[in-house]
Amino acid sequence: MFLVVVLLSVYVFVGIGSLNIFKHVSPWHFLLVDQWTPYASTNPDFGAAGIILGSLAVVGMAILIATPFSLGAALFLEETNKQLGERVLRPVLEVFVGIPSVVYGWLGLTALVPVIRGISHEGSGQSLLAATLVLSIMIVPTVTTLSADAIRNVPTALAEASYALGATRWQTIWRTILPAARAGITTGIVLGIARALGEALAVAMVIGNIPGLPTHLFGPAATMTTVISADLASRALNPVLNDALYTLGMLLLLLSLALILIIRYLSRGFQAK
């Protein structure tokens, strides 16, 4: 009961806080216009499209990079090197999960950002690319663990039948095991997306946090979480900006709720088969 109360109160409080901004700008303006000038002394504007797209760009690219590595690691754990996988790779993944996100952020800032600055010869190196790479590493364990579970749950009879027909291991993996584990792997990817979407401080430390349409890999950008974590400090001075931040927070909540519903839908489809 208490859990449900806590959950509902998170939605209610953030939800109520999120509506105030619409006294100043229309919902469409907020969602679709890229004009974020909260500190302007005359007519500050709150068009968050650039920030929302920033989140989607970083998360989308991170999942594209993380998925192949995660599938590779999951197959290593369950198909090609089971013993070595259990002894070495699984503990390694657990440590990856345990590393605090601010530590990832600090490492990204000191190890990755200078390299990107050296390649691009522009700006500080804090960029969309840096945020994408840091996030990719952070979500690999999530996607890997869930994919490995899905692959393990594929009945061995399927793989044995495939081998008996003379298929190579890769043919068996590609044509039999991965399709059979599809639902679980998709669940892993969706959870990875959810985790990436909600990650705040690691991204905030390496992305530069300059709101605007994310057009350039080597340039800075901003995401919903980074804008919230940076600008919430000025809430007393700029109440309208504060309202806008709560709207971004609510948007994050709704997006992660949608992802949860997708996962539940997937797992139900999986059980029905």
């Binding site: 859990l3 449900v4 806590v6 109160s9 998170v10 953030v14 806080g17 590595f69 590779g72 690691a73 290593f76 754990l77 090609t80 090197n81 996988g85 790779l89 390694v92 993944l93 657990e94 440590v95 345990g98 590393i99 605090p100 996100s101 601010v102 530590v103 952020g105 600090w106 490492l107 000191t110 690999v140 298929a167 190579t168 291991r169 890769w170 043919q171 993996i173 590609w174 959870l191 985790r195 979407l197 909600g198 990650e199 705040a200 401080l201 430390m205 979480t225 919230i228 974590s229 919430l232 400090a233 809430r235 931040l245 709560y246 927070g249 994050l252 909540l253 992660s256 709720l257 949860i260």
Partner: protein, 296 residues
Amino acid sequence: MSVQAGPARRARNSARVVDAVMTLAIRGSAVFLVGMLAFIVIRLILAGLPELNLHFITSPPKALDPGGGIGPQLFNSVYVLVLSLLITAPIGLAAGVYLAELAPDNRFTQALSVATETLATLPSIVVGLFGLLVFVELTHWSFTRLGGALALTVINLPYAVRVTEDALRALPDSLREGSLGVGATRWQTIRKVLLPAALPSLITGLILISGRAFGEAAALLYTAGQAALRAHLTLDPFAPGETLAVHLFSYRQDASVPDVNQIADGTAAVLLIVVLAFNVGARFLGRVAVRRVTGK
């Protein structure tokens, strides 16, 4: 069989090549991940090593001069974590026992498990937004360690419930049947048989939750606060309490000490070492527990 059709042989050969290449790719991604972790750990430890001494981890940070430490932050991290666990553990245990042992399988319990799942994926910065509204402003507490602990509780609770539920569900039914068979009530069975048997996995789960909570910063920025210089060694739950993870995030932006990067390096190394210790500790305990149960 000695004369094979050309196209079939070619197809089989190319399948073998693809197989070899993909196997290499699979092993490559595993090697890459292990190497990446080794790089991360070694780099962080090496960078932080020059800072790590008793003075650094016990003395307070400074406003302008070099040579400040992270003592109060380390203390606050432990304080907020313990305070949060004191709230999380009983509620999580009760909810987990209820879901695993007592609850009938109906719409309400299904809704409860959906709620737990949803709570577990809340972005922690949104928990921070919520905490700012409720534990900071609604209560008029301002930034406090108690507010931070409560925000952490929102994050930890679903994991605590899940750990308890899983630990109890993993126990064999023969335990329950044996206990009920000799005339114990359901409550006696839970308290004297099931919970002791599940204790090792409960403790392991608690340690893993602690490790995660120790590194949490986004939910604490605007609940426990980020005033580095106002962090003092008191036991007052209503004092502001910047934690170590928050310190790593915000000190760099606010402080004007010349050695801010070295301090950040040291802070990151301490965070990493503590989290690794939690991880190894949980793994060790898990192994001891397995040995005790299986008698090997």
